[in-house]
């Protein structure tokens, strides 16, 4: 019984548990407040701050 490996493995599994529990994902997400209320009627009224110009493939 390797204690260090045991602790490492337990920690790794705890991390997997936490990831599942809070629904974590590696997707990069930016949070922005104050999205306009009329967005459903006018989607173009809202542009995310970086969503301008060329974005390649």
């Amino acid at each position: 019984m390797n204690l260090f490996y045991g602790i490492l493995g337990s920690a790794a599994l705890a991390l997997v548990f936490w990831v599942q529990f809070v629904g974590w994902s590696p997707t990069s997400v930016d949070q922005m407040p104050n999205a306009p209320k009329n967005i459903r009627n006018n989607p173009a009224a809202y542009r995310s701050f970086y969503a301008v110009g060329f974005r390649g493939k």
Partner: protein, 658 residues
């Protein structure tokens, strides 16, 4: 019980068994034969030779739950030394024999056989398999023995000039048999080997009393006939050969005149690392080192040497302590035979790839011809320098299964690896044991336990992780939230917003699946998940591309028409998703807002499907891959240790003869 007066000396002679026809008078050693009530005096029997047996007439014991008493004894001499057949009377009236030689105990009884059903002595050879009843037995020893003397009551009597050709047979269990060719028809004795302790002997010979009697009887010191040096025999009467520790001459102790077997040895004198006469405690008994021999095998012109110590315990017999390149093995002779891959007791040669013993698999390690280079001390057999024997080793570390095969015998033994420190402490030796070099054939890998635990821990991690994910899979909602299709049209605003949807339950993820009709193009989706109450936006993106074609007659495809993106940790609430697609081919983005000739044409059809609270196994797989690194590293180190071990074997990696 019948008690009569000895016609020779007048002392009382008892016949305890109805079937005893013969008895010897304990006082005057007259041999008496009983005819109903008359007693006939047949003369005196030859003297019994001292053979160090712990058993005597009157000793009682238990065999498989049946109590017995020893009534009589036949002492037999064969090339390996003395052996006794003790005549037993069981409490239930049955009779049997207890064969006792060199600390091995074999209880047997005569089995009635059909005439001509047993092979002749000349038809036997060592390794021949014979079927006896339901069991398969293998001939392990063939020899000519000679009856030395009798004692006590016997159901029959033989003349002491009697030659006794016999064969010993052993099986994969503790069953054994002896074929006795002293009469016209061979006699078959079938029985079982037992350990000394199992027979629960009582009334054994008192070793102290016996030692006193012996020292009184032959007070003369054994002097080497070559150099005159005095010797005391620690192995007692069981010692057959004494190699003088001063001049290396070999003395035959079975010869009353102590004839010389040889005067000098070719090899130079070697000092045993463990001094002869040293006593040690192993397996719960005390063993005395009596003899030492240096042996070698010649493989491809190179001689490999090792040392063997003969260790003796009066009740348990002999063990061998083997030392090779600083690696020690404690070897005990075996009563039973290992089984070959066909499940039959091992018989015949060449050696097998592996053998089984007690459910353990022993892999073939090496076969070679062993020779004796140098001997010194006491031996329970007649030593011949330059004796050679076929040696076959099979390993299951820390155990080693060895066979020593000559034309008239095959001996199997089981050895156990001892750490050098264990040997030094068992024999109370001072200083340090010789340094080990290389890996011993049966040296247990220090990494074997580590490897086993590492994989076991890994298996536990996997199981826990797997059950955890099963739990999440069962308990998570995996709720379809929304499905909506859109069409991006040339010249019109590309951004769209979905219908509002409700996300329920605790904070968890949201999987966004984008399904497109892309064909050799790409699309980039800028997305914002907007909470209708808090106006908080979660901004993320995903690109989708699908290309296909053919080059050099091979068709290829790259990417996919559909992609998924998981938005992490979204609290419950009412949301909308805003999507703003951008399309393109190669490095050029399409100008979707241009109102050219294609205005009003659909550019991209796509659908979005949202699912709430989706468990993902990929994190577990990722963690399991990382956690596998440690056991794999241990496994690699274990492998290199094993490689060093097998380098010394017949199966060295890269050896073409394998």
């Amino acid at each position: 019980m019948l008690e009569i007066a000895c016609p020779s000396c007048g002392d009382a002679v008892r016949f305890r068994s109805e079937s005893s026809v013969y008895s010897t008078c304990a006082s005057c050693q007259s041999l008496l034969v009983r005819h109903d009530v008359d007693i006939e005096l047949l003369g005196k029997v030859a003297d019994l030779q001292p053979d160090g047996t712990p058993i005597q007439i009157g000793t009682s014991g238990v065999f498989d739950g049946a109590a017995f008493e020893v009534l009589g004894r036949i002492q037999i001499h064969h090339p390996e030394g003395y052996w006794n057949e003790w005549f037993l009377q069981f409490q239930d009236g049955r009779h049997g024999w207890l064969g006792e030689a060199m600390g091995e105990y074999f209880v047997s009884s005569l089995v009635q056989t059909e005439p001509q059903s047993l092979p002749g002595f000349a038809d036997l050879h060592v390794g021949k398999a014979l079927r006896v009843g339901s069991r398969e037995l293998v001939v392990t020893n063939l020899a000519q023995a000679r009856v030395v003397s009798f004692q006590g009551e016997l159901p029959f009597v033989m003349s002491t000039e009697y030659e006794l050709p016999f064969a010993d047979l052993r099986s994969a269990g503790r069953t054994g048999a002896t074929l006795d060719y002293s009469e016209e028809e061979p006699l078959l004795f079938v029985g079982a080997f037992r350990d000394f302790d199992e027979l629960q002997f009582r009334g054994l010979r008192d070793p102290e009393e016996e030692a006193e009697r012996r020292s009184a009887a032959d007070a003369k010191v054994l002097r080497c006939p070559n150099c005159g040096a005095p010797h005391e025999l620690a192995g007692g009467p069981r010692t057959q050969t004494l190699v003088c520790t001063f001049c290396d001459a070999g003395i035959d102790l079975t010869d009353p005149n102590y004839g010389l077997l040889w005067k000098a040895q070719k090899a130079r004198k070697e000092e045993p690392g463990i001094p002869l006469g040293t006593k040690g405690n192993l397996d719960g008994a005390t063993w005395e080192c009596l003899g030492f021999q240096r042996r070698f095998v010649r493989i491809e012109g190179v001689d490999y040497y090792w040392s063997e110590y003969v260790c003796y315990n009066r009740e348990r017999g002999y063990r061998y302590l083997v030392e090779s390149s600083g690696h020690w093995t404690w070897v005990a002779p075996m009563h039973k035979l290992p089984t070959a891959s066909d499940g039959r007791p091992v018989h015949g040669w060449p050696p097998q790839d592996f053998l089984m013993l007690d459910g353990q698999k022993f892999k073939h390690f090496q076969s070679a011809t062993g020779q004796v280079a140098y001997v010194v001390g006491e031996f329970p057999w007649r030593v011949k320098v330059e004796d050679s024997a076929g040696l076959h080793d099979y390993i299951c570390p820390p155990q080693i299964l060895s066979a020593e095969v000559t034309s008239d015998g095959m001996t199997w033994s089981l050895g156990r690896y001892l750490e050098p420190e264990e040997v030094w402490s068992a024999f109370g030796l001072s200083g340090n044991p010789p340094a080990r070099s290389g890996v011993g054939a049966n040296q247990p890998s220090p990494l074997a336990g580590m490897l086993r635990t590492a994989w076991m821990q890994y298996a536990v991690f996997f199981l826990v992780g797997f059950l955890m994910m099963i739990g999440f899979s069962i308990l998570s909602a995996q709720a379809p939230v929304l499905t909506q299709d859109f069409v991006a049209v040339q010249g019109e605003e590309p951004s769209v917003v979905t219908r509002p949807f409700k996300l329920e339950g605790r904070t968890s993820n949201l999987v966004v699946r984008l399904q497109t009709t892309l064909d050799n193009r790409w699309a980039y989706f800028d997305m914002a998940l907007i909470n209708e109450e808090t106006r908080q936006a979660r901004i993320f993106s995903k690109s989708v591309s699908y290309y296909h074609g053919s080059s050099g007659g091979e068709s290829w495809r790259e990417g996919s028409k559909a992609e998924e993106v998981t938005v992490p940790s979204v609290p419950s609430g009412t949301y909308v998703l805003r999507l703003e697609p951008q399309t393109g081919t190669g490095n050029t983005p399409d100008n979707l807002s241009a109102k050219g000739s294609t205005a009003g044409q659909p550019v991209l059809k796509y659908g979005v499907r949202l699912t709430r609270d989706v468990p993902s196994w990929s994190y577990l797989w990722f963690v399991m891959v990382l956690l596998a690194i440690y056991p794999i590293l241990v496994w690699i180190r274990y492998g290199s240790f094993e490689q060093k071990r097998w380098l010394e074997s017949d199966h060295a990696p890269g050896d073409s003869s394998d």
